[in-house]
Symmetry: C2
Subunit: 194 residues, 2 copies
DNA sequence: AAATAATCTTGAACTAGTTCAAGATTTCAA
DNA sequence: TTGAAATCTTGAACTAGTTCAAGATTATTT
């Protein structure tokens, strides 16, 4: 069943009883999305936080000039949402879109609060994973300020080898904060030279 | 007493009893630092997470070329630390240094775990503030990719007018991801032209 | 009140990365 | 299996931001 990986994931940080797993199941839902389907859209309220059972998605912002900027990729065992929109139930600055057909477990706002009440250790779980996400985000800022595009690309490939296989190059360029043309040139340079 | 603002700060998210405030006091400590004094150093283990009662600090990374990159400023009512180092008790990638003489309330690693055990609602408190920090961090990434340096500077001034007054320009440049010379030129352009 | 250290400014030369345009290649739906 | 859409490549012209160097200004310490 789809919940197996989620429960294992949570159990790496806290320990859920059988009864608690049942509560969890009852307060969440499974959502399947096609390739290129939106999970949530910029301008709309993000109603759910999503755990990825299977598939690959991107969370991205479209700026005033229409350029897209990837905030985050999400693959199996990761979470995705416009967290600000979800927490404040206000219009999102980011969209979440499937890069591959995907299966998600979704947590609604009220249901999440209910889960915190009935399974308080989930507070600890979400504190922990948010702290990790925050640490990764800070690291991304410093890397983008201190290293050039070529080194950032190397680091991305080393850290996320599977994602690199599954995602179009121009989205990786966007994640790295460079143009797709420039990433293409970086790759060429790596093939011909060192 | 110095704990007053911390307790108020926590009470905006959860409600502490008198007894809980006493536990909090007993498991934390007050630390005063001079201007330019380190609170924690890159390469060392970050032993404490610090709440700022008074003063102003910066958290920054020094890269291989010796260039400094500001990860975060912290003023009254904010938190600062190399969170990764603190959580994993491993050597830090960031230093925290006082920009002004400052007063901190410090939470040690073991004491923090003890606090979570004795006052479980602190899990909720730290979950909440970490989620906010994460949201702000993601926003900073996207801003730095989608807006030019001049706009980023405008946004910084609007969002943190007090910090701008208290911090040297070259640290603001570093926070924005540009050279101090270029920030100086941006400021001149703003004075002379529009 | 000096002396030293820290910070800020300015200009000239440079470069990492962008933009535009056009074609080549791959993927996917019908 | 073909046509359309999506993605990737390449080169030429450009620009936002850097680097270096030197002097000016402001803080801080003695």
């Amino acid at each position: 069943m789809s919940y197996h990986t989620l429960v294992q994931h949570i159990n790496r940080h806290v320990t859920l009883t059988e009864a608690e797993v049942e509560i969890l199941k009852s307060l969440t839902r499974i959502k399947k999305v096609r390739k290129r389907q939106f999970v949530s859209e910029q301008g709309e309220i993000t109603r759910y936080e999503s755990y990825v059972v299977e598939g690959c998605l991107r969370c991205y912002h479209t700026d005033e000039d229409g350029n897209e900027h990837v905030v985050q990729f999400a693959v199996e065992d990761w979470w995705t949402a416009d967290l600000h929109s979800f927490l404040t139930q206000s219009p999102a600055h980011f969209s979440v879109e499937a890069i591959e057909p995907s299966v998600l477990i979704q947590f609604g706002y009220n249901e999440m609060e209910e889960l915190y009440r009935s399974i308080p250790k989930l507070e600890r779980f979400f504190r922990t994973i948010t702290q990790r996400a925050y640490v990764a985000s800070q690291k991304r800022i410093i890397t983008s300020f201190s290293k050039d595009a070529s080194k950032r690309y190397d680091e991305f490939r080393n850290r996320y080898p599977t994602i690199e296989q599954r995602v179009p190059q121009y989205m990786i360029a966007s994640y790295l904060g460079i143009s797709p043309e420039f990433l293409s040139k970086i790759r060429k340079r790596k093939l011909t030279n060192g």
